[in-house]
Symmetry: C2
Subunit: 277 residues, 2 copies
């Protein structure tokens, strides 16, 4: 029977550690500060940015929300440039997607590497791929942190990544390309997914499809990280049939309560690191 | 019996096309120009830069070689900054490895995206991974060009990449993460390589080991791209036992004369593109 990788408990532990680190920084006169930039009026984005700010404040990180309901490319990139040069700001997060008409590529490319605590700029991605020092995107950091906390050895394993999003699959593959691992990746709509998931020692899914993979799609002892977040009314399901797969997996992240709760925590961890330099 | 993918012939064809494109640019008053920066006194690097310059001149690209036998980080990055701002320079190539004491990461990160015709800066790598427009590194461009010229369909295939160097394996995987493909990659010293090469529809190797893979390590109909360049005296061998594998492969790049001859050509192709904007 699989160990359930508990994201809530793990997140709570890490948050306590971060709280101490922030207190230590404050004692040295450093107030870790995160700037959150939000464009448009999408209610989900507004709510999510507010949750990020609240979670940051809870561990002692100060936040500055810049909500630009209507903005231009120039205003937005100018704001990032100003925040980039401001020594009291340690991290800059731009909530994606941007509102219509703004060029996401250009905007995120203006975030300076040392403040890219969201880890999603092209420069950060390039450094991830080259194996150079940079902030890991929250999803990637969350995976490694979870494995570490549960003492799951990730080396010399065959990872299978299903779904190549800009925020999880791609940076994860980039990162693993520098490690002693074997990696197979597929697009989320590939019809042959289960042929490959069966090979996985560590399986990471972001398929946007409830219970797309069941016990027939995995091998004994697999470690499963499920980024699925599939709503049916108010109930949320993973990409994996957690209950079924848990009979043969060695470890699995439940949905809800698995990898999800770690995401904001890892953003905050990056911010604390950024303030520590 | 496999088709031999002829790099010399393909390179000659592309060079002819580039010659016409350069002539057309010159007729519009644009002289495509490539700056080549060389540090140290390594004879192999000096020779290779000179060959690149000669090949460029042959198709009408002007070259400026900056040979800094002894230099500092500051002098080198200042030179790149000046060349980056010079409108008569279309491409900047920094020959790697740099001489001892110079920080390669920092140096290549100063090459502006629009002049990074070698495609190896972190910003270019990040854009490759995100599927954004940029110059492909020569090795990656050479693979896609070779497949295109021989009408080999690369979509919905299972690619297996053996060896994750900064110049071939990593950018290739990054690039493929945006396409409808399945990709498996492994480090060059992974003991389980042949378990995975047998799955490949398209096999790319950079193993630095003569005939590391023979007929038992591939499946029927495989397309093989061999970046091996293993010298025994004056004779060069690929990573693949070309003769043996050719009995069941559908296509294979010989060594010598396969993918190698395309590398400089793709650099020149990027330079001509850079001059065309």
């Amino acid at each position: 029977m699989a160990v359930f990788l508990d994201g809530k408990e793990t997140s709570a532990k890490i948050s306590e550690e971060l709280k101490s680190q922030v207190a230590a920084l404050k004692a040295k006169g450093i107030q870790p500060t995160l700037a959150l930039i939000l464009t448009g009026t999408d209610q989900y984005s507004i709510r999510y940015v507010n949750i990020k700010a609240k979670r940051a404040e809870e561990i002692g990180i100060a936040t500055k929300i810049h909500h630009l309901e209507k903005t231009t490319q120039l205003e937005l990139t100018s704001l990032i440039t100003i925040l980039g040069a401001d020594p009291t700001i340690h991290g800059i997060l731009v909530q994606l997607p941007l509102h219509e008409g703004l060029n996401e590529q250009e905007v995120i490319s203006t975030i300076p590497l040392v403040k890219d605590v969201d880890g999603l700029s092209q420069f950060t991605m390039g450094k991830l791929l080259m194996g150079e020092d940079c902030y890991f995107p929250a999803g990637v950091a969350a995976i490694f942190e979870m494995l570490k906390r549960y003492s799951i050895d990730e080396r010399e394993k065959h990872w299978v990544i299903c779904g190549m999003s800009n925020i999880v699959g791609k940076p994860l593959a980039a990162c693993l390309s520098n490690r002693k691992t074997i990696v197979t990746f597929l697009q989320k709509d590939d019809p042959r997914i289960t042929e490959y998931t069966k090979q996985a020692d560590i399986l990471v899914t972001e398929l946007f499809k409830k219970h797309a993979i069941n016990i027939d799609g995995v091998k004994n002892g697999v470690v499963v990280i499920d980024f699925g977040n599939n709503y049916e009314g108010k109930k949320v399901y993973g990409d994996i049939d957690t209950e079924g797969v848990s009979h043969i997996a060695s470890a699995i992240t439940p949905v809800p309560g698995g990898i999800g709760p770690l995401l904001i925590t890892m953003l905050l961890s990056n911010t604390v690191k950024a303030a520590s330099y």
